[in-house]
Amino acid sequence: MAVDPVDRAVITQALLAAAREMGTKLVRSAYSTIVREARDASAAILDREGNVVAQAEMVPMQLGSMGTTLRPCLAHYRLDEIEEDDFFVNNHPYQGGQHLQDVFIFSPIFVSGRLVGFAGSVAHHLELGGGGVGLNNAATDLYQEGLIIPPTKYNRRRDWDGGAFERLLGANIRVPEQTLGDFNAQFAANATGTERVRQLCAKHGTDVVEDVMVGLIDYTESQLRAAIRALPDGVYYGEDWVDDDGITDEPLPIRVKVTIAGDTLDVDFAGTAPQVRTNINSPLASTGSAVMSCVKGVLLPPEVPCNEGSFRPITLRVPQGSILNPNAPAPVRARMEPCYRAYDAIMKALAPIVPDRAIASGFDATLVACLSKTIPGGFRVCMEVYGGGFGASVAADGADGIAAPLSNCTNQPVEALDMEYDFFRIASYGFEPDSFGHGRYRGGLGQRREYEVLADDVQFTLYADRLRVAPLGLEGGTPAQLTRCEILRNGSRLNVDPRKVVTLRTGDRIVIATSGGAGYGNPRERPSELVQNDVRQQIVPASVARTVYGEVV
């Protein structure tokens, strides 16, 4: 079909705008602070086969698997079984999902009885049952991590708003008002996407809109193929290490071999650590999302929309039973950690051939802190996602105190937490000076947040990485500092592993400081005025300016 090029441009932008609007409505109508303040949620429009067409710029990790998560739903049901008010739900890590807390909902978009595609959304749900309030780091299998919802189909009219699915869900989770409220926010997002696509079809014709959807995916694919073709053919290697498995002290290697041949890119993780008994395993959908996010970030300009086309030139080989492709029912909650190491390993492999676009390693980890308390008749749960510093590049310092690359969660306003929770308080929040690596360009600053506990029997736990293995620099840039989490009681440090559940009492303090980014290039080549300014801004101590940069202040 020959679609007028102007119509094509118009419909393309409208589809992207529709996805954006879905994301906005999801956040604005949500209930939990993790979705409404930290924005740990995403939205996209997919075609009938489950290919992502257009997505909101939200959380790369979630977006990268929208299609992977929908397709198992479509495999279970015939297209002619799907009705207008139906919706699919899937959070199963071994059937296309990520970790259980990321619940994907897909609503069919019908135009005059014809299925055109799906409006999809995902939110990180604050509480989804399982063996711990909000977060169960001790889980040894998937069943202990929360409620598993396999790829299944329900009907909004029949099963929600007091219907069977809503009641079943509500009965299995500890903070049903918030979790179900966030489900409603996902429905608001999906309804928005559905309405916008219908309007487009009414105006331009369904055939035309479908043709543009296909074209948009092809467009991204062709852009990525062109970018790969411009790189020298060859085999490139990268490596990084997850801190440990939480049981022993051994770093876990992530090894990648990237083969570029023509316009294809083959990513092989042979030699990567086997799966572990703790929750630091990444299901295949998550691994694929991390790989694609890195390739997209390095090779394509931000303006090229990301969609199913970003996957097509990439072949992914991940050994079964490895930490990046575990066998069921291994626990997967902290999957982001091996994903980030895969991300950094690919970045390192590509850095020598795209020195102007790759950046040094940054904090590049997910640090999730969970505080909870049992109250009469229920629970209070707070979950926070931390950012750190970005790695430096050939042209600029890394971004200071910012969400890590596979996430894009915002910090939660201290005033929102003050209003919402009475068992802890944020005592301070700021940059962590000297947390980054040095170089011609320095890494971005890490962040530091301190909690004061205001009640007894507060449960605290976290998962994180970069506690033992620091982000490494490029071209002579120095590594960044390690991430740390300290619990202070009466002013002295408790000797506990925060990755196990710790019970806190009134007056305890928790200090979390994340890594900055690593540096790029020789520090001695850093322009003097930049060093001087960092000293003036109290980011770099005068002594460091002298010893590292040779700068007299």
């Binding site: 102007v6 939200m58 926010a185 950046i359 201290v414 003050d418």
Partner: protein, 675 residues
């Protein structure tokens, strides 16, 4: 005489109104010292300042101070532990796959952020009291450490209890009487500390610039014999006396775009239209907004250069689509227009100032929709050959004729505008077909026809002197002030009385502030509730008329909220487990003292010259367009498109199958003909 002067990036527009009629003048702007352009415009209009009773001014001086980082050196004083509040921001990235990213340059440096030991809690109670002696000592040292011009004070939870902020302001003023001090509770009484701190810092930062500028301006006005009232347009669409703006400069951040909306409301009402989509297209960008029942939509927050500003502004959506927008082909082969602009310098290729890249203005010239001798009444001839040369390479790449590529470029630009209009209409639950489209600015009236067709809007209203509507809007603006408070009120039987009491408090304060600013006329008051389901964090605006306020019950409030929620989110309370309870979390008050309306003289059409025709390439085909001067008698009876109507300040395009007729106030009403 009443005079409105709008200073834009390229031109300074003046509209003067008295019993004799309307005078319109356009002169080049003088960015180094904007008031020079204003006095030049007054001179060009032959206006003697002692005859002016009312001078209203709109300018981009506050915006430019931020964009160019030329505000006053500003310090931040904040709660202990939170000095990095402005630099941390919310921690997200605007483009998620972008690896090399820097946050917008902050307006307060880290070394200029100072902490005081205090903590107020979310319920307003004091957890750590302010040590006055220690704070005084710290401030005396810190604020003497650099040539500061302003201080922003933003403490945690000060929106609910501002006592510590007030005490700190007193200490600063005692030791540094020359410093401008801005406290967060004065500019934004709402939770979320980063957004409030950003607003406070921006406010402090533009304060010295605005104060100096308006002081200088006022002195010169008085020196030249001006004895009238001098007021300034605010971002919220209302004006305030210049003396009040000198104390609260942030409210004037977007005074230019807001003035256009105020003008649109006035002209719309004169034309009998109360539901209006404004469409202001200038050289580099397009601003659109939604006016419902003669009230512009108000947004609680906006951004300038990526920095949030939490102060009520007219909800204007901007896109990079203007006459100077550059037309290009992206890496994937799609034809694009903007957001890059050729600006005022070098400007479009056809301006002959060295521009080489194809722009939307060049495209119009090639299509024939802008006649070569139309700009500034023929004072600025356009170079068609330069325009054609600029589009040559694109035409070759796409295998199109010059006319075809130019026409396509304009359609792409229009699509950008259509999306901006959808953002403020369909996305907020409003159907654009229930509104008229009102185009203004230099380029708006040329594009309005195609955009109305795309959106299904049946009527376009082109105001008289559409190219200078913003300056006219200054004159039409009421004195307006907004106040917003965070106040949690559960929706139960007591809610109506609690809302009424809070509102009465706010109203009393607003009336007092008006009186203090020298406005004695009793203001009319409007109330908007911010409501949500318990557990949500973002509110929906539920406007209440004064009759609603008197008659409201628990049920009527619930129903009003549910309707709004359904409209925006496609679902409402439902019967599920979550989200049944509703709460009010804040109130916003709008107080405005209307200006007595001025009657414009009735338009008389006298021109009876024979009409000419020209060939124009539009929507993929060559069409014969009638060329009509704006004072031609033919406009009384009604005129069918395709036609181009040449106004002094802009050119109006009437599409085929549309019909234009001028009303007695000089507005051109353009209807789609019944099929």
């Amino acid at each position: 005489m009443r005079v409105g002067v709008e200073v834009g990036g390229t031109f300074t527009d003046l509209v003067a109104v008295d019993t004799a009629g309307v005078r319109v003048v356009k002169v080049p702007s003088t960015p180094h010292s904007p008031e020079e352009g204003v006095f030049a415009a007054l001179a060009a209009a032959g206006i003697s300042l002692d005859a002016v009773d009312d001078l209203v001014h709109g300018s981009t001086i506050a915006t430019n101070a931020v964009l160019e980082r030329k505000g006053g050196l500003t310090a931040l004083v904040t709660t202990i532990g939170f000095r990095d509040i402005l630099l941390l921001r919310r921690g997200d990235r605007p483009q998620i796959y972008q690896l090399i990213y820097r946050k917008p340059q902050p307006i307060v440096e880290r070394q200029h952020s100072f902490e005081v030991n205090e903590r107020v809690l979310a319920n307003g109670s004091v957890h750590v009291p302010l040590d006055l002696a220690a704070t005084e000592q710290m401030l005396r040292e810190a604020l003497a450490g650099a040539p500061f011009q302003a201080v922003a004070v933003c403490l945690l939870n000060a929106y609910i209890n501002p006592a510590h902020e007030r005490a700190i302001a007193v200490l600063i003023r005692k030791h540094f009487p020359a410093l401008h001090v801005t406290c967060s509770h004065e500019v934004a009484q709402e939770f979320r500390e980063y957004e409030r701190a950003s607003t406070t810092a921006l406010s402090a930062y533009v304060q010295p610039v605005m104060d100096r500028y308006l002081g200088r301006f006022d002195d010169r006005l008085r020196a030249e014999g001006f004895k009238g009232r001098f007021s300034i347009m605010q971002s919220n669409g209302g004006r305030l006396p210049a003396s009040a703006i000198r104390r609260n400069a942030i409210t004037a951040l977007f005074s230019g775009p807001a003035a256009g909306v105020a003008g649109a409301v006035r002209q719309g009402v004169l034309a009998g239209r109360r539901n209006i989509i404004t469409f202001d297209m200038g050289g580099t960008s397009t601003d659109v907004s939604l006016i419902t029942d003669a009230e512009p939509g108000i947004a609680a927050e906006t951004t300038v250069d990526g920095l949030p500003v939490r102060t009520p502004v007219i909800d204007i959506s901007s896109v990079g689509a203007g006459g100077g927008s550059i037309v290009w082909r992206d890496a994937g082969g799609l034809l694009r227009s903007g957001p890059q602009s050729a600006g005022a310098m070098p400007g479009p290729a056809c301006y002959g100032r060295g521009g080489r890249e194809p722009t939307i203005t060049d495209a119009h010239l090639i299509r024939g929709t802008i006649p070569p001798d139309s700009l500034l009444g023929g004072h600025m001839p356009l170079d068609l050959d330069a325009a054609r040369a600029a589009f040559g390479p694109l035409a070759a790449e796409f295998g199109m004729s010059l006319e075809q590529i130019a026409d396509s470029a304009i359609r792409v630009a229009n699509a950008n505008v259509v999306r901006a209009i959808q953002l403020i209409s369909t996305e907020t639950g409003h159907d654009p077909r229930d509104y008229v489209l009102m185009p203004f600015g230099g380029a708006g009236p040329l594009h309005a026809g195609s955009i109305a067709e795309d959106l299904g809007i049946p009527t376009i209203v082109v105001p008289p002197n559409a190219g200078v509507l913003s300056a006219y809007g200054l004159l039409a603006a009421d004195f307006t002030q907004f106040a917003a408070v965070t106040r949690k009120i559960p929706l139960d039987a007591n809610a109506p009385s609690a809302v009424r009491e809070t509102f009465a408090d706010m109203a009393a304060k607003a009336v007092e502030q008006f009186r203090a600013s020298g406005i004695t006329a009793p203001p009319t008051l409007g109330c908007t509730l911010n409501m949500r389901f318990v557990g949500q964090a973002f509110e929906l605006d539920v406007p209440l008329s004064s009759a609603d306020l008197d008659a409201m019950t628990e049920t009527s409030l619930f129903d009003a909220f549910e309707r709004r929620h359904q409209q925006v989110y496609f679902h409402s309370a439902g019967s599920g487990i979550a989200g049944k309870k509703v709460e009010v979390v804040g109130l916003r008050l709008r107080a405005s003292a209307p200006e007595p309306a001025f009657d414009l003289p009735v338009r008389h059409l006298t021109n009876q010259a024979p009409l000419s025709e020209r060939q124009v390439f539009i929507d993929g085909a060559l069409r014969t367009c009638t060329i009509v001067p704006c004072d031609h008698v033919r406009l009384e009876a009604g005129l069918s498109g395709p036609a181009l109507i040449a106004d002094i300040t802009s050119t109006i395009y009437i599409p085929p199958a549309w019909q234009a007729q001028m009303d007695r106030n000089g507005s051109l009403i353009v209807h789609r003909k019944e099929v």
